[in-house]
């Protein structure tokens, strides 16, 4: 081996020393708590929600999201027809520990690198039922803890729903409090609103998907297009 070859080998061997050290992978609980708490600063974002119905064309809607630091989130769903009224929701945050306990009770959770979403590096959380079926995947911003993307899957593994931030300003100036309209009844997932009651069942819909709550044998029962964790949260609050 010539001196030059040796020098070249030494340089190549030293290259990894110059590489940026990898960020340590956080634990699933720590990451989920950060995601459930939300960022420490206000932000504004555009979110696209897509619903995939078998045999039909995917449907989507766009949501303008503004949020206070660790606080309320205001979601304004913009209709494609400009004359139509937007749907505005103001969501109060849940205690992160309560959300974590519910998810832990239902899913096995694992963490992996998640790639880039809206120009931000993420961690990916996979939530699997105890049977091994992948139900949800969450992409969490490594810096702020903001939930950047969430996918929900059917039992057969096909994609049912994707909610993704497509544009983000973080931090962003946000007003101190949002004006809210009082909403009675059980908690409902983002975009679902109460649409009526018939035959002893209360029904909620987002225009494409729906679910209902009825009382069977003195206990509330949820049925419809909801993932297990959402259904559990509806049941927790069904007495309202």
């Amino acid at each position: 081996m010539t001196r030059y070859k040796l020098a070249a080998l030494l340089v190549l061997a030293a290259l990894p020393l110059q590489a940026k050290p990898r960020a340590p992978r956080p634990g699933a609980d720590e990451l989920l708590l950060r995601a459930l708490s939300g960022p420490a600063t206000g932000y504004s974002a555009v979110q696209r929600v897509q619903v995939f119905i078998p045999g039909k064309k995917p449907k989507a809607l766009k949501v303008n999201v503004t949020a206070q630091p660790w606080g309320q989130v205001r979601r304004e769903v913009l209709p494609p027809k400009k004359k139509a009224a937007p749907l505005v929701e103001v969501r109060d945050p849940e205690k992160p520990e309560a959300g974590l306990a519910r998810l832990r009770a239902l899913y096995e959770i694992s963490v992996s690198t998640g790639g880039v979403v809206a120009k931000r590096k993420t961690w990916k959380l996979e939530l699997r039922l105890k049977s091994g079926v992948l139900r949800r995947a969450l992409w969490v911003d490594r810096d702020s803890g903001l939930l950047m993307k969430r996918e929900t899957y059917r039992d057969d593994g096909s994609l049912r729903r994707r909610e993704r931030i497509v544009k983000l300003e973080l931090p962003a100036p946000v007003q101190a409090s949002f004006k809210t309209a009082p909403v009675s009844g059980p908690w409902a997932p983002d975009g679902f609103v109460f649409v009526g009651e018939s035959g002893g069942a209360r029904r909620w819909s987002n225009g494409l998907e729906s679910y209902e709550v009825r009382t069977v044998g003195g206990k509330p029962v949820v049925s419809g297009d909801l993932a297990e964790d959402d259904a559990a949260r509806v049941l927790e609050t069904a007495g309202r």
């Binding site: 696209r48 503004t66 769903v77 497509v166 946000v174 309209a181 109460f194 819909s205």
Partner: protein
């Protein structure tokens, strides 16, 4: 034909005839060569063009200011203020019409991309 060209032409004719040029002609040519201004260098021309007159300074400054202003306006997007929630009535979400909810959705390509 000017005097300079005439002297050169005479010199060339003498040379072609292999006749020695008279002293007066040689002296004339040397004088003409001495009096000829050196060709202005390209850098000198550029400097003169750039320095220009007082009006050129004003025009240049105005152009630069306009360019900087246009760059700033393009580079710094107008910051959206906090949403005017107070002015916009919050839609009652109790008992929403199913059709109104369905109208919120539109066809999509199913792509998983950022907004451009």
């Amino acid at each position: 034909m000017n005097e300079d060209d005439e002297a050169r032409l005479s010199k060339a004719a003498m040379k072609s005839l292999r006749v020695p040029a008279p002293e007066s002609l040689t002296a004339d040519l040397k004088r003409l060569a001495r009096n000829r201004k050196p060709a202005p260098s390209i850098w000198e021309g550029l400097r003169e063009a750039m320095s220009g007159g007082a009006w050129a300074y004003g025009a240049g400054a105005a152009f630069a200011a306009a360019a900087v202003g246009a760059f700033i306006l393009r580079a710094v997007p107008e910051r959206e203020g906090a949403p005017a929630v107070a002015e916009r009535p919050v839609r009652a979400i109790e008992g929403a019409a199913p059709q109104a909810l369905a109208d919120l959705w539109s066809d999509d390509d199913g792509g998983d991309d950022d907004e451009i």
